[in-house]
């Protein structure tokens, strides 16, 4: 059991959070979500005292780890940490990465350490890759090796700091399923992530950190489907919506496609949808905003992403426009054919202040 009581932390006079209280029971997987810069990782790092809070208490299995005289190494012995960028030793093989700590720190014989490392690699689905170097592995494989390395020290608690942030969406699943099996084995997990889909799937409880404290906590269903606190509701809305205001003067197609791709990747997507983004730029935004005779004054983009399906919806409100943007003189048959190819549907409607194009991706 981890019990965090009245914890406060500031950096150079700037308060990160104050009076944070949180109880984490054995075997739970608690996922901490919140805005970037809101102190999620700082809170996580307090749990193994990589960061020392200004005040408050953290009790782990009956020991206040912040009390003077606490044997922090004994506390850390119970804990493992998995990092965003894996932190594997690049010059060592997969096997050597895993047996290093059991041999050097726990005093295990090489023979026993190797035997156990092979079992751990099997547990994370990496059997047969013992001799590979980290550079030969995908991001998902590296993270699974990092988890196996953590497990080699038999922790009761594992702290995960953005474990999927550096992974392609296709690799999130493999890491997620490993984390799930840890929970089934009774290991307590504390996870910090900005990937809300991942949070929903992996958490037994979700903690929303906002405005310097725990704003709301509950089951994934409570937090994501029925949030009570308006701050949680606003955060979840913002996290699902990508908004940009474009004008002919500021249009940067490559930057826009890249930003939208990065945003979309936080959700479930199909390859076709990522392929659509440059098509959107080339076949709709550019011809309308950069028309030589009748350029639109501006385009407000609003991309609403679904957390439960791959059906994402895009609204583009063109203002200061001569006529329907999905018609001549803006688009011709070739533009429309390409837009059709990569969308479920696309239509336009006249609004008070311009024309809105709605696209189901």
């Amino acid at each position: 059991m981890i019990s965090i009581r009245n914890l406060s932390k500031s950096y150079e006079g700037n308060r990160v959070w104050s009076d944070v209280n949180l109880e984490i029971k054995d075997g739970e997987t608690v996922v901490i979500i919140g805005e970037s810069g809101g102190g999620k990782s700082t809170l996580l790092r307090c749990i193994n005292r990589l960061v020392v809070p200004d005040s408050g208490e953290i009790w782990i299995d009956g020991v206040n780890i912040l009390a003077p005289g606490t044997d922090i190494n004994a506390v850390r012995w119970k804990m493992g940490m998995v990092y965003q960028h894996f932190n594997l030793f690049s010059h060592l093989s997969v096997l050597e990465n895993i047996i290093l700590a059991p041999m050097k720190v726990a005093g295990m014989s090489r023979e026993d350490a190797v035997k156990e490392a092979k079992q751990l690699l099997a547990r994370v689905g990496m059997s047969g890759r013992e001799n590979a170097k980290p550079s030969e592995l995908s991001g998902g494989q590296k993270q699974r090796v990092a988890i196996a390395r953590t497990l080699a020290m038999h922790p009761d608690i594992i702290l995960f700091d953005e474990p999927t942030s550096a992974l392609d969406p296709t690799m999130v699943d493999e890491v997620e399923s490993v984390i799930r099996t840890l929970a089934e084995d009774g290991i307590t997990g504390v996870v910090v992530t900005h990937d809300l889909n991942f949070a929903r799937r992996v958490a037994s409880r979700v903690v929303f950190l906002a405005d310097q404290s725990v704003c709301e906590e509950g089951t994934p269903e409570e937090i994501f489907d029925h949030p009570v606190n308006p701050k949680t509701q606003r955060f979840l809305y913002r996290s699902r919506v990508f908004e940009r205001e474009l004008t002919p003067d500021t249009l940067d197609l490559y930057a826009l496609a890249s930003e939208m791709r990065a945003f979309l990747r936080r959700f479930e997507t199909e390859k076709r949808q990522e392929r659509f983004l440059p098509v959107l730029c080339d076949e709709l935004l550019y011809p309308v905003l950069m028309h030589p005779d009748y350029p639109a004054g501006s385009a407000a983009i609003r991309l609403l992403c679904s957390e439960t399906s791959t059906r994402h919806t895009l609204f583009i409100r063109f203002r200061g426009i001569a006529c329907d943007p999905l018609s001549e003189p803006y688009l011709d048959k070739l533009n429309l054919t390409l837009l059709d190819k990569f969308t479920e549907f696309i239509f336009s409607s006249c609004k008070e202040d311009g024309w809105e194009v709605c696209i189901q991706m």
Binding site: P278, D282, L338, K341
Partner: protein, 98 residues
């Protein structure tokens, strides 16, 4: 996008690499305008072309119209994702693809 250009006798081979889109199509168009005179064969080697927009397709169509008057034009080494675009837009029917 980078464009590799090779001339052998009266055959011009153009090998664009990267993305042929709204931004880069004018570059290819200008390259063709200055190179097509006197050529009887135009070959587009599309092995390294990963994306094509309508602006890129229009450049290919314009080149085809020019070559109709002075020789032949062919696309070769077309990647599947580009072939898909050529097919859905009907360009696969009007361009020669090897």
């Amino acid at each position: 996008m980078t464009v590799q250009k090779t001339i052998q006798n009266q055959t011009l081979t153009i090998a664009p690499e990267g993305r042929l889109d709204t931004i880069t199509a004018p570059q290819l168009e200008s390259e063709l305008r200055s190179s097509l005179e006197g050529m009887t064969e135009l070959v587009f080697d599309l092995e390294k072309l990963v994306y094509i927009s309508s602006a890129g397709l229009r450049v290919l169509l314009s080149a085809q119209k020019t070559m109709n008057k002075q020789g032949t034009m062919v696309l070769k080494n077309v990647r599947p994702e580009i072939m898909e675009i050529l097919e859905i837009t009907g360009f696969a029917d009007i361009l020669t693809i090897r």
